[in-house]
Structures are given as C-alpha cells and as structure tokens.
C-alpha cells in the first residue's frame, strides 16, 4: 500500500473511533469516576451539606424567619445557600483534577476536550442535585413549608444546570490560578446574577402560587441562559485546558 493511502486509512480509523460513541463513553467514564471517588470519600458532598445547613441556620437568626417573612424569603435563602455551597463543590471537584496532575491524565487521553468538560459538568450537576435533594426536605421540616412542588423542582433543575455549566468552566480556570479558592466566587457570581435572579423569582412564584404567566418569563430566562452558556462553554473549554 502506498504511504498516502495508508495515511488516509489511518485518518478514517481515527475519525470512526473518535465517533459519538467514544465521545459519550469518555463522558460516562469521567462521571463514573467522580461519583465512585465521591462514594468512597464523601468529602465533597459532606462539605457542601454541612455548609448548607450552617448557611440556613445563620439565615434563621439573621432574618428571624417567622412565618410571614419566611414565605417571602424562602426562595432567596435556598438559592443563596445553593450558590455558596456550590462553589465549595466546584473548587473541590477541580482541585482533585489539578492536584495530582490528573488533568494531564485526562488531556493525554485521545478524547475530545469537550468530553472532559461535559463529564466534569455532569458530575458536578449530580453533586449539586444530591445536596439539593437533601436540603429541600430538611428545610421543609425545619420551617414547615412544602417545597415539593413539580414547578419548583423544574426551577431547581434548570438553575443547577446553568450553575454547573458556568461553574465548571470558571472553576477550571480558577483552579489553575495562584489565588484559586478566593477567585472562583469572584469570577462566578457576577456572571451568574441573571440565572440566580430568575431562579429566585421563579421559585418564589411557585411557592406563592402565582399564575404561570408571571413565572414563565423567568423560566424562559433560565432556559436561554442554560442554552447560551452551555454553547459558550462547549466552544471555549479547549482554550482553558490546552497549553
């Protein structure tokens, strides 16, 4: 076989092997790896949970959550708690990759760099949702409000997706900087404001029993935010991890 055909064949092989299946397989591998490690150590979720409980307790004293104020501020308290606890999780999740050089290990693998982003982001989303799934009933019991409404769950899902997409992107930058732990919230929160605002307003709408017409604009903002930033992250992630 002449060398040119050889090269072409090789290229096609790479193309076929770098197909969607390989892409999804590597995403699944990263998610599995993060969950398996967390299942052993429980460090990340543990820290997020304890921190969330503390934040809610502090709010209890700071806002004197009596019945009337409680209804108005519940959604705000919840989202502030999730947002702060989330940065703990994001920092930890990326620090694991950076500290033992594992990020290099991921980059050495013949997978698309985006797969690394989606793998990490989906893992972080899982952690976030697990924490939320524990905090919600806790809050419900502590303050005697019913937080189990399908609408609210949808809002939390949409909010968490956007949060982890942007959060994973910015955390992978922050972790490579000298000032990393301090840097993440500073980078993350100003960019997150529209999402958090929409999430608070939509959650509040569901909790107070507003009409859907009033809640829909917020849901739309969240969907738009999620779509836009997942697309942006997809396009720029290469530049964050590649040297």
């Amino acid at each position: 076989m002449p060398p040119t055909t050889d090269l072409v064949v090789q290229k096609i092989e790479t193309r076929a092997d770098g197909s969607l299946r390989a892409y999804l397989r590597s995403i699944a591998a990263i998610v599995w790896k993060d969950l398996a490690a967390e299942f052993r150590s429980r460090e990340l979720i543990g820290a997020m949970l304890v921190f969330s409980a503390l934040v809610i307790l502090i709010f209890n004293f700071a806002l004197e959550l009596d019945i009337r104020t409680r209804e108005a501020v519940t959604s705000g308290v919840l989202w502030v708690t999730f947002a702060f606890a989330g940065t703990l999780g994001l920092n930890r999740s990326m620090a694991i990759e950076k500290d033992r050089g594992c990020l290099d290990g991921l980059l050495l693998a013949p997978v698309d760099r985006n797969a690394i982003f989606f793998g990490k982001a989906i893992g972080n989303l899982f952690f976030m949702l697990i924490v939320e799934a524990i905090i919600l009933p806790m809050y419900s019991v502590l303050y005697n409000v019913n937080l189990f409404q399908p609408g609210l769950i949808l809002v939390i899902l949409l909010g968490s997706i956007g949060y982890t997409a942007v959060g994973t992107l910015l955390a992978s930058m922050a972790v490579q900087a000298r000032t990393r732990d301090v840097l993440l919230p500073i980078l993350l929160f100003p960019v997150l404001i529209p999402l958090l605002l929409a999430a608070v307003k939509a959650s509040n709408g569901f909790l107070m029993g507003f009409e859907m017409a009033e809640i829909m604009p917020w849901i739309n903002v969240m969907i738009a935010y999620d779509v836009i930033f997942i697309a942006v992250a997809f396009m720029v992630f290469d530049f964050i991890v590649e040297e």
Partner: protein
C-alpha cells in the same frame, strides 16, 4: 526609549481640542433643561462614559476571540488595555449617574436596571483583572482573559434583560425607579448636537488612551526582554 510617534502626538492634541469644544457645547452652548436645570448637563458625559465602557468591553470580547483563534500576543495586549479603560469609564458613568440621581430621583442610588447592570458589569471586569493577576504564565493569562472577557460580555445583556423583567413584573410604587418616568426629557436639536459630540469626544479619548496604554505595555515587555538578555549573557 522610543519617542512618541507623530500620529499619536497629533491624535493627543486633536482629542484635547475636541474635548474643550465638547466642554463648551455641554456646559455653555446647550440650553438649560427646563425642569431639571443645570444638573441635567451631567447627562452628556454620563452617557458618553457609559458608551465608552460598553465599547471597551465589546472590544475586549472581540479581540479575545481573535486571540483565541490566532494566538498572537498583540490581541491580548489590546484586550487588557481596553478592560482597564472600560473599568475607569464605567466607574465614571456610575458616579456621574449618582450625582444626577441625587437631585432628580432624590437618592444617590436606586435599583434601576441600567444602574444595576452597569455595576455588575464593573464587577465582572474587576474580576477579570483579578483573574489575570492570579496567573503567572503569560500565554495562559491571555487565554483565560480572553475566555472570561467573552463569557462576561455575553452575560451583560442577559443580566440587563432579566433585571428589566424584574422591574416590569413588580412595579415599584415608592419613588418610581423608572428613568423614563422621572427625570425623562426630550432633547431639542442643540442638546442633540451636544450629546452626539460628547459621544464622539469620548470615543476619541478612548482611542487615544488605548494607544498610550498599548505603548506602555510594549515598553514594559521590551524592558522585560532586555532584563532577560542581560541576565542570560
């Protein structure tokens, strides 16, 4: 040390002259606004400063994209220079807005969409500068700066839109925070001239400052290089 290029000298003088004209137009030539009086004159430079802020950040996002595509250091230099200028002008924009709001809205600060968006934008670009300070490797610093410049810039209109929905759904009754309601006015022909001339002037100032800032950066890098060659020889 290199001397200032002639074109830059000319531009500097031109900008200064135009600025003096703008001052004249804004402070003396434009008619006094009937209801608000002289304090309305803040408006011209206020909007112009806001415009330069937004323009500067737009430039940062665009050259950031070009840097990522081509990897040439000079695009990154423009990005940093533009952010620094943008931060200063956005700050001017917020402060002048406050000065105007005090007599008109009867408060230094209100949670109006534009105001809040401008402030969040300022925070984003302060974060941008802090991000860069935390990274030693120049290539990585440039790449991260470009990414954050793009991400931040995209978030600004979404922020503005969502704060706007926030206000339209919840009409605030106490001391209406809607700028079109209180303190709105129609510009007459002369005001319009002063207004657009201010925009033009501030754009010139932006270009001039950007140029100086780029030269400063280049000279800094040259000094670094000479230090390195001096050390290694």
């Amino acid at each position: 040390m290199e001397r200032t290029p002639k074109a830059l000298k000319v531009l500097t003088w031109l900008t200064s002259a135009v600025f003096i004209v703008a001052l004249y137009l804004v402070l003396i030539w434009a008619p006094q606004e009937a209801i608000m009086g002289d304090v309305q004159r803040v408006f011209y430079f206020h909007v112009a400063a806001g415009w330069v802020g937004a323009l500067a950040f737009l430039v940062t996002a665009i050259v950031g994209g070009i840097y990522l595509a081509r990897g040439e250091q000079r695009w990154d230099r423009i990005a940093v220079a533009s952010v620094e200028i943008g931060v200063v002008f956005t700050f001017i924009n917020i402060v002048t807005g406050s000065i105007w709001a005090r007599p008109i809205w009867n408060t230094w600060w209100t949670w109006d969409p534009r105001l809040v968006t401008a402030t969040i934008m300022l925070l984003i670009y302060i974060a941008y500068i802090m991000l860069r300070q935390g990274i030693e490797d120049p290539d990585r610093r440039a790449r991260f700066g470009a990414v954050y410049g793009i991400v931040g810039f995209i978030s600004v209109p979404i922020t503005f839109a969502s704060i706007r929905i926030f206000r339209t759904i919840h009409p605030v009754v106490v001391g209406s925070s809607d700028p079109t309601a209180l303190g709105a006015f129609d510009m007459n022909a002369e005001m319009r001239v002063a207004f657009f001339f201010s925009l033009f002037t501030f754009t010139l100032i932006y270009i001039t400052l950007l140029w100086y800032r780029l030269r400063l950066q280049q000279q800094k890098e040259k000094i670094e290089e000479r230090k390195l060659t001096a050390l290694s020889s």
